[in-house]
């Protein structure tokens, strides 16, 4: 039997709330954080709405030494990791450095920082490029900066699989704990709301061009026409369940199962891989479908992708066989940050026995989903399944289970 791995700390930076408490209150109230892009002038682009993290003043959280060397995504990740560790009641200074590691996911790296320095390179010359460009825009920089800040010298790394990567990172953290590192800080924060990031995301052809937040991101709705991108995510403290119990930690829940697949080549006639990812995650968790109490959907808001997800869910759980929700309708799609934020949401839902709603959506009856809309739904929740798909055919599924009472 593999060592159970539990979540003991949570730090959230989301478009509808900075900090876990603000996020959770907004999420239960159905209060979204999608609005016109303010971080740069997006008026000339087809898509002009985003989920931006409100009220984050980097100077309030980070020393002056860190500011010149960090992109926004790293600043948010550092703050969220601090909150997660404080929430877990862990003081890294009291632990052996090699007993702690960091695994994050990243979809784009530090694009805002990178764009500024590339502009310096091509407009002023190489001597005007910050020396910190050498790492500040790398995929791995959030893992590096978190590990340096807290003196975590155990195994570290980064996973890159667009939206699916956020779950893949937590799965890798679980593997490392099972190999003997007692504590891993994991999760993801992406924040590429700058012209470069915007163009890169626009190239997917999947961004909503709607002008009104209430109409812009409508997964599983007959009016679905793309998604709204957002920034932020969540950081989690993961621990060996036995070690967490011995120190008397408060446990949010267990990372019970994980599965990942890659879609077949387009046009080959084989089915997409999401169903298989779900089945793998359930088998890994030792769960049968009837034991899953809620599914947090990937929610692409692309008609074909919504249908594929609804079919995968129905194939495993039966038509309208399990409550499904997409709280990311309040935040937009956060790239790598989405999976860890949904994990946090799922764990908070298990704690409160409330399924947060999918907002603004009128579920397309043809999809045969029991979509939770209108408001939070009270339910007996012991297990939740989080789904995430990344552009390019990545499918990941992760099951979480409530802590034993």
């Amino acid at each position: 039997m593999s060592t159970p791995v539990v979540v003991t700390g949570l730090g959230v930076a989301a478009p509808n709330g900075l900090g876990t408490r603000a996020f959770w209150e907004a999420t239960l109230a159905g209060r979204g954080g999608i609005g016109p892009v303010s971080r740069f002038d997006a008026t000339g682009y087809p898509a002009r709405l985003a989920g931006e993290v409100p009220g984050f003043v980097a100077e309030d959280h980070l020393s002056g030494r860190l500011l010149p060397q960090t992109d926004r995504m790293t600043r948010l990740a550092l703050a969220a990791a601090d909150w997660a560790l404080a929430d877990a009641g862990v003081d890294p200074a009291e632990r052996p450095p090699s007993d702690m590691g960091v695994v994050t996911a990243s979809a784009s790296g530090g694009f805002e920082f990178g764009q500024r320095e590339l502009r310096n390179l091509w407009s002023k010359g190489g001597r005007h490029v910050s020396a910190y460009q050498s790492f500040a825009w790398f995929y791995a920089v959030n893992s590096g900066q978190v590990s340096i800040r807290h003196g975590m010298k155990g195994p570290s790394g980064v996973l890159v699989a667009d939206q699916a990567g956020g779950l893949d990172a937590v799965a890798q953290a679980r593997r490392l704990i099972r190999k003997g590192t007692p504590l891993i800080v994991s999760g993801a924060v992406d924040a590429s709301l700058c012209p470069w990031g915007w163009v890169a995301q626009s190239a997917s052809g999947r961004l909503s061009t709607a002008g009104v937040p209430e109409r812009a991101y409508l997964p599983f709705d007959a009016r679905a026409q793309g998604h709204v991108p957002g920034e932020g995510g969540a950081m989690l403290v993961l621990e060996d369940a036995g070690a967490a119990r011995r120190r008397g930690a408060t446990v949010y829940g267990e990372i019970a199962g994980y599965g990942a697949t890659t879609d077949p080549r387009p046009g080959g006639g084989r089915p997409p891989g999401l169903r298989k990812a779900i089945e793998l995650a359930l088998a890994d968790a030792g769960l049968v479908p009837a034991e899953v109490d809620v599914v947090l959907a990937d929610a692409a808001a692309d008609p074909g992708l919504d249908r594929a997800e609804a079919e995968a869910i129905a194939a495993v759980f039966g038509p309208r066989g399990v409550p499904v929700t997409a709280p990311k309708t309040m935040t937009g799609r956060l790239c790598s940050g989405a999976g860890p934020l949904d994990l946090g949401t799922a764990l908070l839902a298990l704690g409160e026995q409330l399924i947060p709603p999918t907002v603004h959506v009128e579920a397309d009856p043809a999809l045969a989903l029991d979509l939770v809309t209108g408001g939070p739904r009270p339910a007996r929740l012991r297990t939740a399944l989080v789904l995430a798909r990344g552009h390019g055919g990545f499918n990941s599924a992760m099951a979480v289970r409530a802590a034993a009472p």
Partner: protein
Amino acid sequence: MNATEFTLSDLKRILLESAGADGAGLDGDILDSRFEELGYESLALLETGSRIEREYGIVLDDSVLGEADTPRALLRAVNSRLAPAA
């Protein structure tokens, strides 16, 4: 630039612009403190050297930044290039 002298206050300003400072900042007598003790690693010094080069129109060899491990040593190295021997 025709600056004739690179002073400690010039260095402090450029250090702050390049790499920031922690709480205590750069107050007090730091002339003979090692950069490492002040919290500046090699990358911070690389960025600082790059800005000094741009602002003062000089070239600092990599070895200069490696060897000048205190503000006093760096001031001396920069000033020797601002006023080359005739």
